[in-house]
């Protein structure tokens, strides 16, 4: 589990790019402070495209880089470290995986590769992640379908050109059979989009579908078998979120370590106090473990290994708990200054909260680990 030369090169080019162009000051704070409706900059998304990142998972034949989740994870760790707001995780990772191999891919991939399109996923209907519990109804009408129902936590929903909507064409909520995935244009008539700002200043819409008509060719994959493309999107989205969480943890921890080396109290650098040293060392270990788990999940996904689902859940759960620890320790060890908006450490705490919930909390994934292990 060491990186190849190509992977190292990718990391070495992405890390400084994200630290400069994607920095907290120029991106997150900038868009937040001017009250941007997208919560991210389209200019930066275009730069992602110029670096070949938007098409990182798209096959070379379709204009992408044809790389895998290990590479996407390297990018996401730097995204997390710099709290860089972008639709990379939802669009370039999860949506691309959902669309791959379908007729809809030909329609949306060129725009994604060019950094001109954003895609969003509309999966969850309740306040916690439970992707099989789809009840939004898609009923056949004419040569297409009519959608009725509601979705929430649709990250970048208001900025998206296309929304991938999990709807029920058969079966009952809780069943994985009978779900169909639709690619719906955001400005479809009858689709109401309420743009909601989240704690971390990113945006996730609430969508209401009132007799939204779509053609039959809006179906991604097969009717009643939306679980197949949805699972691809979820696996990669979860593994990707784990990598981003590792980046959030590492960014918060680096910031805290710097502070421990410069802040003096009682005539000593606070980093000299053993109680803080041991907590910092413990945290470092947890981050290393989470990073290894995320890498393992990505490698198994790339290899098409049957253990991938188990390790994806291990990675998401471990990275979620680890980054929660990192941001909590980060704010605490910064003392009072950590509570101020002016300081960046609190921004890590807010991002962690959102990312941890996205694609399933650590509790959801621990339960998955139990289920996949047979208990």
């Amino acid at each position: 589990m060491t990186l190849t030369d190509d992977q190292r090169m990718l990391h070495d080019s992405v890390a400084p790019f994200m630290a400069d162009e994607g920095s907290i000051k120029t991106q997150l704070r900038h868009w937040r402070d001017i009250g941007c409706k997208d919560g991210f900059g389209h200019g930066l998304w275009k730069q992602f495209a110029e670096l070949g990142l938007t098409g990182i998972l798209i096959p070379e034949a379709q204009g992408g880089a044809g790389l895998g989740m290990v590479e996407a994870g390297l990018v996401l760790e730097e995204v997390g470290r710099n709290l860089t707001p972008s639709p990379f995780l939802t669009t370039a990772v999860a949506a691309v995986r959902a669309l791959e191999g379908s007729a809809q891919a030909d329609r949306w991939f060129p725009g994604i590769v060019a950094g001109e399109m954003v895609a969003a996923l509309a999966i969850d209907e309740g306040r916690s992640h439970d992707p099989a519990k789809v009840s939004l109804a898609a009923t056949r009408s004419g040569n297409g379908f009519t959608l009725n129902g509601a979705k929430q936590f649709v990250v970048h929903g208001a900025s998206a050109d296309v929304v991938l909507v999990a709807a029920r064409t058969a079966g009952a909520p809780g069943e994985t059979d009978g779900i169909t995935l639709f690619a719906v244009e955001r400005d479809a008539s009858g689709l109401q989009v309420d743009n909601v700002a989240l704690a971390d200043s990113s945006k996730a819409a609430r969508l209401t579908f009132e007799n939204v008509s779509v053609d039959a060719d809006a179906v991604v994959g097969e009717v009643d078998d939306g679980w197949t493309p949805l699972s691809r999107a979820l696996r990669s989205g979860r593994a990707g979120a784990a990598s981003e969480l590792v980046g959030v943890a590492a960014g918060a921890s680096d910031m805290t370590l710097d502070y421990l080396k410069q802040r003096k109290q009682f005539g000593k650098l606070i980093g000299e106090y053993q109680v803080l040293q041991h907590r910092a060392a413990h945290l470092f270990g947890e981050i290393e473990i989470a990073r290894a788990a995320a890498l393992k999940a990505a490698q198994l996904l790339d290899a098409g290994d049957p253990r991938a689902d188990l390790f994806v859940s291990v990675a998401k759960a471990k990275a979620g708990r680890t980054s929660a620890l990192a941001v909590q320790e980060g704010v605490q060890m910064h003392g009072g200054i950590g509570m101020t908006d002016e300081h960046d450490i609190g921004l890590y705490m807010k991002r962690e909260a959102v990312l941890s919930e996205m694609f399933g909390s650590h509790r959801f994934h621990a339960a998955e680990v139990a289920r996949l292990s047979g208990y």
Binding site: E272, A292, K318, Y375
Partner: protein, 383 residues
């Protein structure tokens, strides 16, 4: 078929033909571990035979050079061997401080003669070793040790006391830290090997809270040790000691996996929901740690691992192993508290649980490991 596939096929066939059926069953008590050595009483003919055939092939130490009694396997081949052994549930043929601690130190610091002399015997399980590091006044502060080795011409005269020496009363030889100079704390330590039957060596067992007695106080009363049994240079034993500790920590960290990569939850049966949730959270941690172990080994082999990483592995692995046994006890309820009954297999869960409490003490405490990480990896001030 690649060379590695061919190697796998041969290995599988050889193991099938040579691993006795009895050695493919899980170990039930501490006694099932094969320690070898002059005084070892084999539990069965199968145990003895398994050690013999594996030792002859050098497969007790698959990646040591064949010229020193090892298997001469590449890292990839050694991994295949490990996987194939795991596939049939083969027990380790030998449990040995010689393999996991002294051997690597000799390979790095030993003279050619010492390597030729000791390593093949270690590989075949002919010498059982113990580790003479800790003293009553020198535990975490190991370099504070006082046991003296005075110059006697062609030999040293060793006097002093060690403590917590695991299996000193059953070991044939000891690798021992002694003070050869008092000028500097770290710079006056030397690393000696000697026979526990040398005149002047005595041991006194100490009983553990688990009811077992695996370690001793060890006394040296003017023990004569030939000078060619010094490893590395005189007064530079601290380097050897630290190198060896790195390997010891790596070995102990592996215990976090409890010898198995399977989820704990799958083996404990029905438990109440809160405990089940705790176990699931533990399984997340243990599987994630398994990923880190794999990454760490790969980084070690690629020369990319930070030298202080074994401290982190040791810390994380042992804390997990303690948690594993807390959960096993919780799941076992009152059954697990039975100390001597047949039903509890002689109180196995309880004794194992108590034994694991030493994991975060032996080989350097968790606090010491965290201090090392803070100082050498995180570079925190004044650490």
């Amino acid at each position: 078929m690649t060379d590695l596939d061919a190697f796998r096929a041969e290995t599988r066939a050889w193991l099938e033909a040579n691993c006795p059926a009895e050695m493919r069953t899980p170990m039930r008590t501490e006694k099932d571990a094969c320690w070898g050595g002059r005084h070892f009483e084999f539990q069965s003919e199968a145990q003895k035979q398994w050690l013999t055939v594996m030792g002859e092939r050098g497969w007790t130490v698959p990646d040591w050079p064949a010229s020193y009694g090892g298997g001469g396997l590449s890292a990839a081949e050694a991994k295949v061997l490990k996987e194939e052994m795991a596939a049939i549930g083969a027990r380790p043929p030998l449990t040995s401080f010689g393999i996991s601690m002294l051997g690597p130190a000799l390979l790095k610091f030993g003279t050619e003669e010492q390597k030729k002399d000791y390593l093949p015997q270690i590989a075949r399980g002919e010498i059982r070793w113990c580790q003479g590091y800790s003293e009553p006044g020198a535990g975490s502060d190991l370099a504070g040790l006082q046991t003296k080795a005075e110059d006697g011409g062609d030999h040293y005269v060793v006097k002093g006391q060690k403590v917590w020496t695991s299996y000193a009363d059953e070991a044939d030889w000891i690798f021992c830290l002694v003070r050869t100079s008092t000028e500097t704390k770290h710079g006056g330590i030397s690393f000696l090997l000697f026979d526990m039957e040398s005149p002047g060596v005595s041991t006194k067992p100490i009983l553990l809270i688990s009811g077992n007695s695996p370690f001793c106080e060890t006394f040296f009363d003017d023990v004569k040790v030939p000078k060619d049994q010094l490893v590395g240079e005189e007064n530079k034993g601290w380097d050897v000691a630290k190198y060896l500790l790195g390997h010891e920590r790596e070995m102990i960290s592996g215990m976090g996996l409890g010898g198995e990569r399977q989820a704990l939850g799958a083996s404990v049966g029905e438990v109440e929901p809160l405990l089940r949730a705790e176990i699931a959270a533990f399984d997340v941690d243990v599987l994630a740690f398994a990923a880190m172990s794999e990454r760490f080994i790969d980084q070690l082999k690629a020369g990319e691992a930070h030298p202080a990483m074994p401290s982190l592995m040791k810390y994380a692995g042992t804390e997990l192993n303690k948690r594993r046994h807390e959960l096993i006890m919780a799941a076992g309820g009152s059954d697990a508290l039975e100390w001597d009954s047949e039903r509890s297999r002689g109180g196995k869960s309880a004794r194992d649980w108590l034994r694991t409490k030493a994991n975060s003490i032996e080989g350097g405490t968790s606090e010491i490991q965290l201090g090392i990480v803070a100082k050498h990896i995180l570079r925190l001030p004044g650490a």
